[in-house]
C-alpha cells in the first residue's frame, strides 16, 4: 500500500510539473534555438491584411499640401527639401516610388500579402505601389548591396531576451563551469517581430515629399492581436525612423491592419507621385 501511495504521489507530482511547464514554452526544449525563423515564429503574420486608417487620416488618405508636415520633427534641411517637393518632377524623373519606400510604405493605405518566401525570409507584398519587402532572419546586408526603395531588412523575433533582475527572477546565473547561462525561469517567449532596415534609396515619409535620406535607419516592431469586441485579428506596427540628416529626433509612426480571409479587394497600383496610394 505504502508503495502505491508513493507511486501515486510521484505520478501526481509529474503531472503537476507537466501542467505548470505547459503554461509557457519553458524547460530544456525552450533553450534549444528553433531550427528556422518560421518554426520559431512568435505568431503568424501570413495572409492578407488591409490598412485601417484611424490616425493621421488627412496625411494618408489624401496627398497633403506641400509644406504640411505638422507632425514630423523635420530639421531646417528637411523642411527645405519638403518645401521643394514637386510631384510632376518625381513622376517624370522615375522617382514616383519615393513615397512607397520602406520608410513610408506602411503609412500608404492599402493591402498587404505576407508569406514565407523560405524558412528564413518573410515576404511582404503591397498592392499600393506594387512593392515587395523581404524580411531576412539571421542575415546581414551582403557587401556592396545597392540601395533600393525597400532596402535590406534584417528581422528577428524580439522580446525573448532573458528576464532582468527587476522582474524578480534574478540576474545572470552561472553553471558549474562558470559560464553565464539563462535559467528556464528567466527565459521569456518571443513577443514581437523586430525589423531593422538600411540601404534604402532616399524616400518620403509622407506623400507630399517629407524626406528621409539614404542614411536613414528604419526600425519596426510588428505584433498581432485579436480584439475582444469584433474578434478580428490585427497586425500593429510601430515604426521608428532615425535620420539625423532631416530629422531633429526619431520619428515614431503607427499603423494597423485588419486580417482578411482572402485576396478580395487586392488592387495593385503603380507608383504614383500625385495619388494617395
Amino acid at each position: 500500500m505504502e508503495r502505491r501511495v508513493v507511486l501515486l504521489a510521484a505520478a501526481a507530482t509529474l503531472l503537476l510539473s507537466v501542467h505548470v511547464e505547459g503554461q509557457g514554452r519553458g524547460g530544456a526544449a525552450q533553450n534549444a534555438p528553433p531550427a528556422t525563423a518560421r518554426t520559431g515564429a512568435a505568431f503568424d503574420m501570413t495572409g492578407y491584411w488591409v490598412s485601417e486608417v484611424t490616425e493621421k487620416w488627412r496625411f494618408r488618405m489624401l496627398v497633403p499640401d506641400k509644406g504640411d508636415y505638422q507632425m514630423v520633427p523635420l530639421n531646417p534641411e528637411g523642411r527645405k527639401v519638403a518645401d521643394a517637393w514637386d510631384p510632376t518632377r518625381d513622376q517624370a524623373s522615375g522617382e514616383a516610388c519615393r513615397s512607397y519606400g520602406a520608410g513610408g510604405l506602411l503609412q500608404v493605405p492599402g493591402r498587404l500579402h505576407i508569406t514565407w518566401q523560405d524558412d528564413n525570409t518573410l515576404r511582404m507584398d503591397t498592392d499600393s505601389g506594387t512593392q515587395t519587402r523581404l524580411l531576412h532572419f539571421g542575415g546581414s546586408p551582403p557587401p556592396n548591396t545597392e540601395p533600393s526603395w525597400q532596402g535590406y531588412s534584417a528581422a528577428v523575433w524580439g522580446g525573448a531576451e532573458p528576464r532582468d533582475r527587476r522582474d524578480g527572477f534574478g540576474g545572470p546565473a552561472q553553471d558549474a563551469t562558470g559560464r553565464v547561462v539563462v535559467l528556464p525561469a528567466q527565459r521569456k517567449e518571443a513577443d514581437y517581430l523586430r525589423v531593422t532596415t538600411t540601404r534604402m534609396r532616399p524616400g518620403y515619409l509622407q506623400k507630399n515629399g517629407v524626406p528621409y535620406s539614404a542614411n536613414a535607419l528604419l526600425e519596426e516592431y510588428f505584433d498581432t492581436f485579436s480584439d475582444a469586441y469584433t474578434k478580428n485579428t490585427w497586425l500593429s506596427v510601430t515604426t521608428v525612423v532615425t535620420d539625423p540628416q532631416y530629422l531633429v529626433e526619431p520619428l515614431i509612426m503607427h499603423a494597423h491592419f485588419k486580417k482578411l480571409p482572402d485576396a478580395t479587394g487586392w488592387d495593385p497600383t503603380p507608383c504614383r507621385a500625385d495619388e494617395p496610394r
Binding site: A12, V50, T54, G67, Q70, D191, A228, S236
Partner: protein, 294 residues
C-alpha cells in the same frame, strides 16, 4: 484509501490553475519607470472627425460641442480619462507597482500622467470587475493580464468623456482594451475603444513613449476661476443642430469633402479614396497651414 489518494491528486491538479488564476501575475517584462511622450496629435481642429468610426448619434453630439465649454468652471480642471490623457502632447507617464495598502503585496500597476494628473490602477491579481451599477470614474476600473510579453487590460466603469480634445464624445457605455508593448526602451500603447453608443466599430489608435529615467513629472496645479469670469454664468456654450458655423472650416482648409471629414467606418479603408473623388470639395481658401513643428 486508494479513492482518497485519487481524490487528493485530482484536487491538487484541479486546484493548481484555479489558485494561480487568483494570484498576482508577475510581470513578463518590466514596464515600470518614467516614460517621455512621443505623441503626434491629430484631431486638433473642430470638425475633424477623420478616421473615427462615428455613428450618427456621435456625430450629432460632436457637432453640438462648443470650444468655450472648456472654460466653464466645472470643466476647467476636469480630468481626462487616461485613454485620452495619454494622447495629449504633454503626457509624461510614470508606471509604478501598485501595492495592497494592507499587505504591501503587489496587486498591479499604476499609471500616472502629468496633464490633469489622471491615475489608473491596473489590477493583475484576478479580482473581478465591480457591478455594472457601481460608480463610474474618470479612469474607470481596470483589470489586466499578460499575453506573451504584452500587458493587456480592460477598462470599464468610465465616465462620459471625449475621444478628442475637440468634442468628439465617448459615452458612459464605452470600455477600452489597452495593450502595452515594451520594445526595448520604447513603449507603445494601443487603445481599442468600444463604444456602442457613439461608434459603429472599435476605434483603434496608438501612442509611444521612450524610457527617460531622469524625467521629473511636476505637479499639475489647476485653479478654477469663479463662475461667470470667462463664460457668462448659467450659460452652456453649444451649437444647436445644423447651426455649427465652424464645422466646415477644417474640410475647406485641407481640401477634404465635407462628408469625409465627419468620419464613419467606411472612410477608414483604402477603397474610400476612390469614393472621395466623387464627392464635392469646397473651394480652397488656403494651402498654407499652421506649422506646429516650427
Amino acid at each position: 484509501m486508494r479513492s482518497t489518494i485519487l481524490f487528493l491528486v485530482l484536487f491538487v491538479l484541479a486546484a493548481a490553475p484555479a489558485s494561480a488564476q487568483f494570484a498576482f501575475a508577475p510581470s513578463a517584462v518590466d514596464l515600470t519607470g518614467e516614460w517621455a511622450p512621443r505623441v503626434y496629435n491629430t484631431h486638433m481642429d473642430i470638425g475633424d472627425y477623420t478616421g473615427i468610426p462615428l455613428n450618427d448619434e456621435g456625430r450629432l453630439r460632436a457637432q453640438s460641442w462648443h470650444p468655450d465649454q472648456l472654460d466653464m468652471p466645472e470643466n476647467l480642471c476636469r480630468p481626462h480619462p487616461i485613454d485620452i490623457g495619454l494622447r495629449v502632447s504633454v503626457s509624461q507617464l510614470r508606471i509604478s507597482t501598485e501595492l495592497d495598502p494592507e499587505t504591501r503585496q503587489p496587486v498591479g500597476l499604476r499609471l500616472h500622467v502629468w496633464w490633469q494628473e489622471p491615475e489608473q490602477v491596473i489590477y493583475l491579481d484576478g479580482r473581478p470587475h465591480p457591478s455594472p451599477h457601481a460608480p463610474h470614474k474618470w479612469s474607470g476600473f481596470s483589470t489586466g493580464w499578460w499575453e506573451r510579453n504584452t500587458l493587456v487590460y480592460r477598462t470599464t466603469h468610465l465616465k462620459e468623456a471625449y475621444l478628442t480634445r475637440t468634442g468628439v464624445p465617448k459615452s458612459v457605455k464605452a470600455e477600452v482594451t489597452t495593450r502595452v508593448h515594451r520594445y526595448g526602451n520604447l513603449l507603445t500603447i494601443v487603445f481599442i475603444i468600444h463604444d456602442p453608443a457613439y461608434l459603429t466599430q472599435p476605434y483603434i489608435r496608438a501612442s509611444s513613449w521612450v524610457l527617460d529615467p531622469n524625467q521629473v513629472i511636476p505637479p499639475f496645479p489647476c485653479e478654477i476661476t469663479p463662475e461667470g469670469t470667462i463664460v457668462p454664468a448659467g450659460k452652456v456654450p453649444n451649437f444647436l443642430p445644423g447651426q455649427n458655423d465652424v464645422l466646415r472650416d477644417f474640410p475647406t482648409e485641407y481640401g477634404i469633402p465635407f462628408e469625409s471629414a465627419l468620419g464613419g467606418a467606411e472612410t477608414l479603408y483604402p477603397e474610400y479614396i476612390k469614393t472621395m473623388k466623387t464627392l464635392k470639395v469646397a473651394p480652397r481658401t488656403t494651402t498654407t497651414h499652421y506649422r506646429r513643428t516650427q
